[in-house]
């Protein structure tokens, strides 16, 4: 990495050449990543092949083979891609619906005290209820079809979206508003020039939380009642005592959920390029 300029700070990276020793190779973080992954898979394979869990743990090789078959064979009329798409489309529809409503409401609440006074208390009643608790009532209302699943996702994603949009605006430093006032801006300039851009990072953080909530919700909905989707694969695996199906389903959920959250990160980079990355996860 060379010199990077962020805003008006220049960060200089100082490279230091160290001799290549065995100790340094062994303690290298990326080397350890490989070691740990390989060990994990090996241990899993050995345990899976042995009879320790009495067949209740499929080995990685079994899982991969099972899912290679799933690519062409059908389970309940859909191939693996069909199931992945079934879950993903539910998540995307629910997620889009919830964020389209929740973010504007959250922004509106933070900017207008009267709207805040009306919506906040009712919202506070719903806030602590876990989205999974809504599964039952969704089934009572909408049956076990598509609408009930989307409803649950909307409920699950609504709260973090709204909350983050709200706090995003609330936590803006008042100095920024003062600057607009000093420069002769009116309320409208304040909102468009300061409030919106400054709340973007918080909104995106909310979207990330929402998305992982959405995956939890779609799974809960599909585990309780469904005919397609990744949750359905897991349930089928459970019913047929086919652990390779269960574990494979979990792995695919992890991959798909991870991919969708990556999309949000990319979108965030496009929308607010000024945001600096925090050290850590």
């Amino acid at each position: 990495m060379g010199d990077r300029a962020i805003a008006n700070e220049v960060q200089e990276a100082v490279g230091e050449k160290k001799p290549m020793t065995i100790y340094r190779v062994i303690t290298n973080e990326y080397f350890l990543y490989c070691v740990s992954t390989v060990t994990f898979l090996l241990v899993w394979q050995v345990i899976g092949q042995s009879d320790m869990f009495k067949g209740a743990l499929a080995s990685p090789v079994q899982v991969v083979l099972r899912f290679e078959r799933m690519l062409t064979d059908t389970l309940a009329g859909l191939t693996l891609w069909g199931h992945i798409w079934a879950s993903t489309s539910r998540v995307l529809i629910g997620f889009a619906l919830a964020s389209a409503f929740a973010i504007p409401i959250g922004l509106f609440m933070a900017l207008n005290p009267y709207v805040d006074a009306i919506i906040k208390p009712v919202f506070d009643i719903f806030k602590p209820m876990p989205p999974i608790a809504w599964v039952s009532i969704a089934i009572l209302w909408f049956g076990i079809g598509e609408p009930s699943k989307i409803f649950i996702i909307v409920i699950g994603t609504f709260v973090p979206c709204l909350l983050n949009a709200y706090t995003g605006i609330r936590l803006i430093e008042p100095e920024l508003y003062d600057v607009v006032k000093v420069l002769g801006g009116n309320r409208r300039d304040e909102i468009i020039q300061v409030s919106f851009p400054a709340s973007f990072p918080a909104i995106f953080a909310g979207l990330q939380i929402s998305l992982s909530n959405a995956w939890t919700c779609v799974l809960a909905a599909e585990l309780v009642a469904s005919r397609s989707g990744l949750g359905f694969i897991i349930v089928q695996g459970m019913k047929m005592s086919d652990t390779s199906l269960v574990i494979g389903g979990m792995v695919i959920i992890a991959i798909v959920a991870w991919t969708t959250s990556l999309l949000i990160i990319i979108l965030e980079k496009l929308v607010c390029p000024w945001k600096r990355k925090l050290e850590g996860f």
């Binding site: 208390p121 039952s136 005592s241 959920i253």
Partner: protein
């Protein structure tokens, strides 16, 4: 803040509106059920829920336990899972933040497991542990351990590097820096984790009980669905929400006490 705090008097409308809004909400709810716009087989009126609440305090029918027993079971499971996730997640996160070897070994596995929603583990859990309390505790533990690790990790990583360099200059060992510098500076994040993890545990509890249980608040909800009793579903949801809110509030107060003087 360099400002003096100025007391701004709230307009009367702003104090009245929240009360009015909650009142309107509940009366509208009561109205649409009573007038039959929404049939009572789909949604229970608030009055019906309160009535059921009073009945359920003493009557174990039709789901086999009184409300207190459900709440006790759920609370016990959530609490054990929560404590275990703290006991495992916080040390792991702290160590991962400071020691490269621990980070290198633990991080890939953690990243592998992190994106899997805890409720996806339910089928495997049933295979491994059956439907007893161990399985539910395992699910709850999975939900709580992720935020614990992340927060403790980030807390250590955010330690002021100047302080670390200073400690090095004075000849502190790696372990000393970790114990005397990194851990204290990670404390605010760790306390943040206490609250987040508790919320995660509580959410996952409902998920775990929704599928396999014979007692607990989540079980009350799914029983209500199976018996098509909307008042029981709503009662269960209200109880879960209420208990969750109370716990969250208590932890927040505790956090404020313990962290008095540390600014976040």
């Amino acid at each position: 803040m360099a400002y003096e705090s100025v007391k701004v008097k709230k307009p009367l409308t702003l104090t009245l509106l929240p009360i009015l809004s909650v009142f309107t909400f509940f009366s509208a709810w009561e109205m649409i059920v009573d007038t039959g716009i929404v049939p009572s087989t789909m949604l229970a009126a608030p009055s019906a829920v309160i009535k059921l609440f009073l009945v359920k305090l003493t009557d174990p029918n039709p789901d086999g336990a009184v409300l207190a027993a459900h709440a006790w079971t759920s609370g016990k499971e959530a609490f054990i899972g929560y404590l275990l996730s703290l006991a495992f997640g916080l040390p792991l996160g702290l160590l991962m933040g400071w020691f490269t070897v621990v980070r290198g070994l633990a991080r890939p596995i953690f990243e592998l497991i992190r994106p899997i929603p805890p409720i996806a583990w339910i089928p495997l859990t049933i295979f491994w542990f059956g439907i007893g309390i161990e399985g539910k505790v395992f699910i709850i533990w999975l939900g709580g351990v992720v935020p614990c690790v992340i927060n403790a990790f980030v807390g250590v990583r955010m330690t002021n590097p100047t302080l670390i360099q200073m400690a090095r200059t004075y000849g502190a060992s790696d372990w000393q820096i970790f114990v005397q510098l990194c851990i204290p500076s990670a404390l605010p994040m760790v306390f943040g984790a206490l609250q987040i993890a508790l919320v995660c545990c509580w959410v996952n509890l409902v998920g775990a009980e929704l599928l396999a249980a014979d007692q607990g608040l989540g079980y009350l909800i799914s029983m209500g669905r199976r018996l098509a009793l909307p008042d029981m579903v709503v009662l269960g949801m209200v109880c879960v929400g209420f208990v969750g809110a109370v716990i969250g509030y208590a932890i927040e107060r505790l956090e404020r006490r313990l962290l008095a003087g540390i600014r976040r």
